[in-house]
Subunit: 411 residues, 2 copies
Amino acid sequence: MSIIVQKFGGTSVANSEKIRNAAKRAVAKYKQGHKVVVVASARGKQTDELVADAYELNPDPPKREMDQLLSTGEQQTVSLMAIAIQNMGYKALSFTGHQIQMITDSVHSKARIESIGSEIIHEKLDDGYIVIAAGFQGIDEKGNVTTLGRGGSDTSAVAIAAALKAKQCEIYTDVDGIYTTDPRKYSKAVKINQVSYDEMLELASLGAGVMHGRAIEFGKKYGVEIQVRSSTLDIEGTLITEEVPQMEGILVSGATVQSDLAKITIIGIPHSPGNAAKVFSALAGTKISVNDIIQTELDDNSANLSFTISKNDLADALKTIKAIKNEIQYRDLFIREDIAEVSAVGIGMRTHYGVADRMFKALAENKINIDSITTSEIRISCLVDKQQSDKALEVICDTFQLDKEPEERDM
Amino acid sequence: MSIIVQKFGGTSVANSEKIRNAAKRAVAKYKQGHKVVVVASARGKQTDELVADAYELNPDPPKREMDQLLSTGEQQTVSLMAIAIQNMGYKALSFTGHQIQMITDSVHSKARIESIGSEIIHEKLDDGYIVIAAGFQGIDEKGNVTTLGRGGSDTSAVAIAAALKAKQCEIYTDVDGIYTTDPRKYSKAVKINQVSYDEMLELASLGAGVMHGRAIEFGKKYGVEIQVRSSTLDIEGTLITEEVPQMEGILVSGATVQSDLAKITIIGIPHSPGNAAKVFSALAGTKISVNDIIQTELDDNSANLSFTISKNDLADALKTIKAIKNEIQYRDLFIREDIAEVSAVGIGMRTHYGVADRMFKALAENKINIDSITTSEIRISCLVDKQQSDKALEVICDTFQLDKEPEERDM
């Protein structure tokens, strides 16, 4: 008997009807002869409500207590799910992070999993129970409740699947899989049947927000097969797996666009060790997250340093950088607002030439100006004017035939 | 430095403002130089909401899962309380039942406390923290969450006070203490300054619902001084303590009335061992709780058996008793609906004669018919017609001067 882990996010358990549906999914797998572990998030908007309650009492609530507070959301879901499954005539037991010994470090609000009491889960599975475990939460060695931060329940599910050597980790969500691009922006987008961990990591970091990067990293590290699928439709979703040879034939698996970016260029930073580090540690100090970084050498023993940030962070970022002008002695700042980044991702790029070339040519033919370019081994990203970003995405999708199943595409 | 335990019930922590008030109470005691442990219940109607959620999924929700579910209510309150106290600039830590090792038996929904990890609490108190512990909940030896049933948070508070050898356990509530009788029924009632555990147990069992009997029993067993006081007014409440000599001078400490009772008399039960037991075990089987029982012998080697029950249970009780007619061979049933019980309670009765006499005489002078009488060492109860019950209570209160402070009463 193989073990299946099923994860249900907040929208998939938001009310009684949805909890009952999720329970049916678990029972269906159980009846097929699998051992089933369910990992659940807090119901709907409950976490938001608890956060609001806390801020009403304290504008800077202590993290340990926030973790203690927020972990109740998942605890409620798992007991309600066990109550629903037992009503269908099956054995079920709910477990908190502490009860399955989900041990983490002590970094409240973004703890890292250290170990899982898999023998406790195995014992109950062997006794015929469907096991319902609270996602997102753990305890540290002293018994303090911790939470795993954004996307934490996905990470819990994949980690439990890894610890139990499960056959598959199913991530149930309100979309039916990962698409070649956002269907709201490119209506011809098709669902990806199979994608590698590395591609999914790139897509996730570029804002294809179905799954959080940490969970995918965990899956990659422990070789857990992850399926992202619909909690309402009974159809196959997208499989995130290890790289298999036929994936190399696919030049581009998916494309993304991130709008509402701003680009800052610091002009004329004198060459001196650690100057770039000073910039980014100052920005990190104000919790501004920096995307692509480009440094270009100038003739006069200085350099230009460009990077993109969320447009919302622009005012704070400028303040931070101006505050270190005396220290760094740069000449000027150049700002470009209303910029967007379009990207193409595919492990086929590793072995096939000409992907970047085709992309740049197609954009040029459509009179889309490229501000700058960054790449990784399996990704090409271009900064473009925000007003042209939807068009740019469409051009990339058309160029790499992201409206077709991979086997139907021309190379 | 002495330890004070403060318990706040659901209405005293129902919203942010009330949580902040409760936090202020804790901080005030802390600033007076005490070590402070707060025990808190779930906020307002939250437990009711969670129960409703569970019944929507299952008409007979499993008790283990209900305990897991309901325990989140207190967990939320304690973390919010710690968040509020830290906002006032004081150190506070919240603890679940599992975190303070509140070990109980495994009887879900009405578990009994077996031990408490008092060294964990002492350590944090010594470090200068205000400790906030979740009431109502514990864990069994296997780590399953348990709850203590009705009045459970009171019991948690008194048990923690006992384990820590606290100076006092303060029960904050929406009334400012225990009154000689219900002020809604006898407006001249006065607050009792001091009452013994035994008297309070009798009063609680007769429906003076401020504190649950189990908590008082716990207090009696471990000699914990309990103060019931207002969460909104800053005045002394009622002290529940060990018996002290001057209490004996008080003939009657309090009076109660329980309305909406019904009385069933089973006529002519043949004398045969175990017949009465059969009646009460049949009633217990249908979860009907039986109050006073009176058995009177008849001449013909049979007996009449009377008892009172809540009027709501009358139909079920009759069905149950009729179902065992063949087995027991009683002759007839006599039912009296719309009956009430008035009681006077006081440890002075132990040493003073004539209390019952004065009570019966006063009732007779006021043309109140007594249906039947039951007594304990410190209590006299009379069944009267429901329509006369408020008058009966008033007569008893006037007779024993329950509108006056004890020292102002004539003996």
